[in-house]
Amino acid sequence: MLDVRHLNKRFGSLAVTQDVNLSVARGERRLILGPNGAGKTTLFNLLVGELASDSGEIHLDGERVDRLGVDARARLGLARSYQKNNLFDALSVAENLALAVTAARGLSSNPWRDTHRDASVQEDVERVAAQVGLEARLHHTVSDTAYGERRQLEVGMALASGPKLLMMDEPTSGVGPAMIDGFRQLLQSLPTDLTILIVEHDMDFALDLADRITVLNYGEVVFEGTPSEARESALVREIYLGADDA
Amino acid sequence: MSDTGFWIVQTLNGVQLSLLYFLLSVGLTVIFGLMHFVNLAHGALYALGAYVSVTVSAVLGYWGGFLLAPVAVAVVGIGLYLLLIRRLRHADHMNQVLVTFGLIFVFTDLFRIGWGDIDLGLEPPTLFSGQSTVFGVVYPTYRLFVIALGLVIMAALALVLTRTQIGAMIRAGVDNEDMAACLGIDVDRVFFGVFCMGCALAGLAGVVAAPVFSVTPAMGDSVLIPALIVVVIGGLGSLRGAVVGSFLVGFIQTFGAVIAPQLAAMITYALLAAVLILRPAGLFPARS
């Protein structure tokens, strides 16, 4: 469903993405690994269109999307969560989710329907809130919530936009073990036809979930295979674990 | 109109106007670049410079005004900084715009109260009255002085910014305020100094412009828009942008008036709109 061919991106003389090829099947859970600065977030940015690639192609469900804007790709079903919380801080959790639901349902250009009183919108909001464990915090302003809750909402925003391809950028960064467990359950509960791309540091968490693993280093794909192949790969261990430990 | 002398004179006109715009807008852009502060009262400070120079010149002659007006404006700037702007340093952008917008109202009426409603004038210094011959054409000497002064200030600012420690501090502040603070730069003091300097330059622009134009309570309003256009076209906060913006606006206005006078009023706005549509942050944004 996602097909990336020969993708390149440079910042000045620094190559941050080098000839990346990536093919992800529908329903697959793909883990992207790599040390800090390996170009994982850059790859996400290129995929969703927040950065323009220098060359290469990105296909989503057979359609070429690398010339489309961020919003157009999102409408095709690409959704992402951010490594650094990127939310509407002055709004409540429910209002945040409602914005995503509104956009997903094509209501963001409807000038009449009050989305806060719209039963179907609110249903979706509550469903997603329950999925990410925020049902009790719906009416709290984001800036009043705890960091971990914002991480949950970050994933919730992506889920609420009803994606075909869900891209999560380190959803567990900075949260405690209990919450990591929550994320694991969440991911396992998601529909099996949902394709998921996940950048993660927590190897144990990620390797359990992933169908396949791609390892980036200096912007290049240096490994691709199943979790068990990755565990055995000396290269992966050297690059990834070595860098992480240091 | 085909004779070269004509075009040389028009080019000088363009350079002169451009450099006046430069003097006016450079303070605005540096204050913005460093403090993210759009000082709409900049035009009023320019008018203040002109008014002070009229009053001082009556006693001490043109050069008295030339020296004292920028100082007086800087002093008023210090007052504004301590009273208002310091409190707004970390306030919402919009609030800064509004306070300085309010200052325009206040200044305009203070000029009316202090200097009356009747437009005033200032005589150019005898040293620079009359005309001189340059590049084979006869040109007003005072305008040549404006050109020379503008170039000197431009060079001096470029030198200060690129070659001195203060310049390095300012550039660091423009680039990343927090980082500059981490490097041990007293950001607030740099800001204060730059703000005073910007005010003094506005005052200087007022003195220099006074003998060419008339001195009126609303003179600040009428230059505020062109000055804003200059800095926005150039990219806020960038010295290079201010230079390029000044010359673009100055030349387009001059040659627009020559070639298509019926469009003269429209052309600057069209330029601004075109630049913003193509480069939404101006031609040379100070930071990416």
Partner: protein, 322 residues
């Protein structure tokens, strides 16, 4: 994000009733002031929709108002078209103009957006100023008012006209409130808060901005058509950026992003200006000082501060109970 709270509703009703009562008791000039306040309030309302909720500070709303006023004037005075038809066309025209300006300015942000709208507004001003047909600097007289004789209203009299202005102000508020609580309106608030995040959620941000600007142009257009009918005369001052600035000042004095605030600000400005200007010719000085003090006091504006105090007190009470 917009909520039509009870506090807003009560304040709105009090304001409108107050204006209505003043029409009855304020004498001729009182009615003129009410009309003036209503028109300014409509303009300020339209500015608040984009500035307060969409984060788009506009410097071209004077031009939008003026464009509608001139369109209406040209159709009734020059072409002799019926005022009712001209009314609709003029408002459609200002809506389209605003949508276009919003669309091309949508890529810019902050001060750059302000300057872009300033540029377009001034271009409209210069175009109308330079059109000899439209009277240039001298303006254009002979603008007709709507003929409501059929429904038994003499629109030429100032009292019915003032009531019509109050009614249109209420209508404008209603439209704005309706829009702001819709999916579109909430998305607009999202644009103000975090435009990039919305884009990642699949929202065509430029189109949201353009349409919000267009809607704002519609409200400004209503104000413009009423302004043209009020004085039955139009002149280029209507289009100048200073009017846009004045509308913005009104919004700030009343309370940015409160929707009721602009009404408070407009009414306060018109009536206070009337009082001050009969004492001194330097009333700008007072407006300037008021503006500065408003910002230094927290920038919430008259109504905004009131709302803030009331909500805080209520929250505190709720906490004490809990």
């Amino acid at each position: 994000m917009f909520h039509q709270t009870a506090l807003k509703s009560v304040t709105l009703v009090i304001l409108l009733l107050g204006l209505g009562a003043y029409v009855q008791t304020g004498g001729y000039y009182g009615r003129e002031l009410v009309i003036e306040a209503c028109i300014l309030a409509m303009l300020a309302l339209s500015v608040d929709v984009v500035a307060g909720y969409g984060g788009m500070i506009s410097m071209c709303h004077g031009a939008l108002l003026g464009a509608a006023a001139y369109a209406f004037a040209a159709m009734t005075a020059l072409l002799g078209w019926p005022p009712s038809l001209s009314f609709v066309i003029a408002i459609v025209a200002s809506t389209l103009l605003a949508t276009a300006i919003g669309a091309v300015s949508s890529r810019t942000q902050g001060i750059f957006f302000i300057m872009a709208t300033l540029a377009f507004g001034q271009m409209v001003y210069v175009m109308i100023f330079d059109a000899p047909m439209l009277g240039g600097d001298d303006g254009m007289a002979g603008v007709k008012r709507l003929n409501l004789d059929l429904v038994g209203i003499n629109f030429k009299k100032s009292a019915p006209f003032a009531f019509a202005c109050i009614a249109l102000l209420a209508l404008s508020y209603g439209l704005a409130a309706l829009m702001l609580r819709s999916g579109f309106g909430r998305t607009l608030s999202g644009v103000k808060a975090n435009e990039d995040r919305l884009r990642a959620l699949g929202v065509r941000v430029w189109w949201v901005k353009a349409r919000a600007f267009g809607f704002s142009g519609l409200l400004a257009g209503i104000a413009g058509v009423m302004a043209a009918q009020h004085t039955q005369f139009v002149s280029p001052e209507l289009l100048l950026w200073t009017l846009s600035g004045e509308a913005l000042v009104v919004v700030i004095l009343g309370g940015l992003g409160t929707l009721v605030g602009p009404l408070v600000g407009a009414i306060a400005l018109v009536f206070v200006k009337h009082e001050i200007s009969s004492v001194t010719h330097y009333w700008h000085l007072f407006i300037g000082i008021a503006l500065i003090l408003t910002v230094l006091a927290g920038g919430r504006g008259l109504y905004g501060q009131f709302e803030y105090v009331v909500t805080r007190a209520r929250r505190r009470r709720a906490k004490d109970h809990a």
